[in-house]
């Protein structure tokens, strides 16, 4: 076979574009066709996975299944591992204080060693949240198919990759065959029109999209994000938007690769280098959806109308602009009323009240949604304007060790500490309650993470208000939800 067994973490080489497409083919279809091994009897596609990322939570059972089936890892060089969900952010001294966490760490170390898979652990200096390190190391590239046992794998679509969150049995499938059995999604183009006002961030754009289309509006679709607002976004902002595709029900979301993408990738550790980079750019350009591409659906979102947004309920679609009042269940369509009432009962908020002024107990800045350097810079801008309010616990958790080093080189950690925020080690932290960072009892947390589900942040009765990192920092200082535009 003519396939190179070059590791996904080596500097890749890209051939000239070798596939011709009609001039109206969208990116998803092109990438799909390039990676299709065959059509399966079920009608699904056997899709080759170019980059497989694994972490400690959803992989151990997959390795166990592989062992049971007596199968090797087929392309061990196309899988890369890190540890993020269970890793503590105060001390990562081994053995970890939590026996269960230590067991999971040992399991991924053992599995990676046994199967020849590269593991970026804390000692590597490159550990971090899987969706932060893939992009920053240049592993994530346009035109790739990417899979990871984590729903926020949609993040990687920011580069024009087709990236899916998968379950553990599918992790087994990829380890054993480097393929997925998967149905091709339909594509919905979402044009975000106009221009964002000052104090309005990528997080607000994604919250606005989910509010408009609903938390299940994207089921069966890949979202192609485009339009003037997306065009001028940095890669990090696009990562935030693509990250929350799954919160809108879309398993995958992407942005067409452009000069912003190529500039970001140039000279990253695992990007193609030199002439290979130029060849890669030519291929990447050929993948972008043309202006008259065909889609299954198209919608527009008015970027001019987006305000700093805050979730108030128990799913990310239940969010409003900071100037708005909480919705009245009686005004909502009948099928939504039960949901709204359940949310009010859990959150102890009142219909018709403003969200501004809601007191908070905890502020969390971090996660695969908003734990990158640009997020920390924006939060630090706000942190410079005051001190964390008495009684508020405020955490800043860099998304990776690389982000941490960058922030420290800029002195951001000192800015945060001086303002009364705790500066932690890289990990998923308080996004998901699998490590010591958790809410207690009915605490309310202003959070830059992605999910406000019941119990999500570790207390079965804890409450989450999703917002941008700048809004979280502003809330930490005020002690309650405030409009960041009044602080900037």
């Amino acid at each position: 076979m003519g396939v190179s067994r070059r590791p996904c973490y080596s500097r890749g080489v890209v051939t000239e574009a070798n596939t011709q497409f009609s001039d109206k083919t969208n990116l998803l279809t092109k990438v799909w066709d390039v990676h299709a091994v065959r059509e399966l009897p079920s009608g699904q596609t056997q899709l080759f996975v170019g980059l497989h990322l694994i972490h400690e939570v959803t992989s151990p059972q997959a390795f166990a299944m592989l062992r049971e089936m007596k199968l090797p890892v087929r392309f061990s060089e196309r899988t890369l591992a890190t540890v993020d969900h269970i890793i503590p952010t105060l001390s990562q001294q081994r053995p970890l204080a939590d026996d269960l966490a230590e067991k999971m760490m040992s399991a991924i170390e053992k599995n990676c060693a046994e199967h020849g898979i590269r593991l970026l652990d804390p000692a590597s200096g490159q550990q971090g949240i899987v969706h932060v390190i893939g992009p920053e190391l240049g592993l994530t590239q346009p035109g790739m198919t990417i899979a990871c046992g984590d729903s926020h794998t949609s993040t990687h679509g920011a580069f024009g990759a087709v990236a899916f969150g998968i379950g553990t049995s599918q992790v087994r499938d990829v380890l054993a065959t480097q393929c997925l059995a998967i149905a091709k999604p339909r594509v919905r183009r979402i044009d975000v029109m106009g221009k964002l006002a000052s104090g309005v961030y990528a997080k607000d754009v994604t919250l606005a999209i989910i509010r408009q289309l609903g938390v299940n509006g994207g089921v069966g679709y890949a979202y192609e994000y485009a339009g003037p607002v997306i065009d001028v976004m940095s890669i990090e902002e696009r990562l935030t938007v693509c990250n929350m595709s799954i919160e809108g029900g879309a398993r995958c979301g992407y942005v067409n690769p452009d000069e912003t993408t190529f500039d970001y990738l140039r000279d990253r550790e695992f990007s193609p280098q030199g002439a290979s980079f130029d060849a890669a750019v030519r291929w990447w350009k050929s993948l972008a959806s043309p202006p008259d591409a065909i889609y299954d659906d198209r919608i527009e979102v008015d970027g001019n109308a987006i305000a700093p947004s805050v979730s108030w309920g128990i799913n990310p679609g239940q969010n409003i602009g900071i100037d708005e009042r909480l919705p009245i269940p009686a005004d909502a369509p009948a099928e939504e009323r039960a949901s709204l009432e359940e949310a009010y009962s859990y959150m102890s908020l009142k219909p018709g009240d403003p969200i501004a002024g809601t007191p908070i107990n905890v502020a969390f800045i971090g996660s695969c949604t908003n734990g990158r350097i640009s997020d920390l810079r924006e939060a630090a801008r706000i942190a410079r304007t005051g001190r964390v309010a008495p009684g508020v616990k405020a955490l800043v958790v860099p998304g990776s060790q690389t982000v941490a080093r960058e922030a420290e080189a800029e002195g951001l950690h000192e800015v945060f500490r001086a303002a009364g925020f705790e500066w932690r080690l890289a990990g998923c932290s308080m996004c998901l309650a699998m490590n010591p960072d958790k809410l207690v009892d009915r605490e309310i947390c202003a959070s830059s993470s992605n999910r406000n589900f019941k119990g999500r942040q570790g207390s079965p009765t804890g409450r989450t208000l999703l917002m941008s990192p700048a809004m979280v920092a502003a809330a930490a200082i005020a002690g309650h939800v405030v409009d960041v535009r009044g602080v900037l």
């Binding site: 076979m1 009897p41 056997q46 151990p60 969150g165 087994r172």
Partner: protein, 198 residues
């Protein structure tokens, strides 16, 4: 693998839409290297808060093997622990208004049929089983129907998933391996993988 063409049993009615996988199995139970023991923690926090008034604790539904749910069931995290927990607590199939995509894929991979009903049929089934939880509910994948005291109604399931279950091909690893060398051949055609001199 076993072909799955029919699930028959009593059903449990769990109302509400957008029930996420964090509720189905809270994250703290994912701190483990196996799926063992997840069954007893299904919906744990919801059940504690309902103080016994949760469908999974309702004696009338005891022994149910089919879970009837609302819209967008299983949204959120990709954790296969969610269908694993429900399977290990005794459920063999799901009937809903709609399912989140990753959850549905995970169910298929475990051989758990998940069918959707049109709104009226769905409401009628929920009401009927609530009134008479002792009745038998039958999911017939061959006929694409759900039969209960309401009668036989059309069950929706993607063709591919139905075929996988009916043919016993729901463990995708076996099916994917059948491609043999075609996998390496496909990889050789992918520009960023092809063995091309730099």
């Amino acid at each position: 693998m076993t072909a799955i063409d029919r699930i028959e049993g009593r059903a449990c009615v769990l109302r509400g839409s957008d029930i996420d996988t964090d509720r189905i199995i809270p994250a703290r139970f994912l701190r483990a290297v196996t799926f063992d023991g997840l069954g007893e923690h299904a919906f744990e926090d919801d059940r504690i808060q309902a103080k016994g008034d949760h469908p999974l604790d309702d004696e009338r539904f005891a022994g149910a093997s089919i879970l009837i749910v609302g819209a967008n069931f299983g949204c959120g995290s990709s954790r296969e622990h969610a269908p694993q927990a429900l399977m290990r607590s005794g459920f063999r199939a799901f009937i809903g208004k709609s399912f989140a995509e990753i959850f549905a894929g995970n169910c298929t991979a475990l051989g758990l049929p998940h069918v959707t009903l049109d709104a009226d049929d769905h409401a009628a089934l929920m009401d009927s089983v609530t009134l008479d939880p002792k009745q038998q509910v039958v999911i017939d994948l061959e006929a694409r129907t759900v039969t209960s005291r309401v009668g036989a109604v059309a069950a929706n399931i993607p063709d591919g998933v139905r075929r996988q279950l009916l043919e016993g091909n729901w463990n995708a690893t076996h099916v994917l391996l059948e491609a043999g060398d075609a996998i390496e051949a496909a990889a050789a055609r992918i520009p960023y993988l092809a063995d091309f001199p730099s």
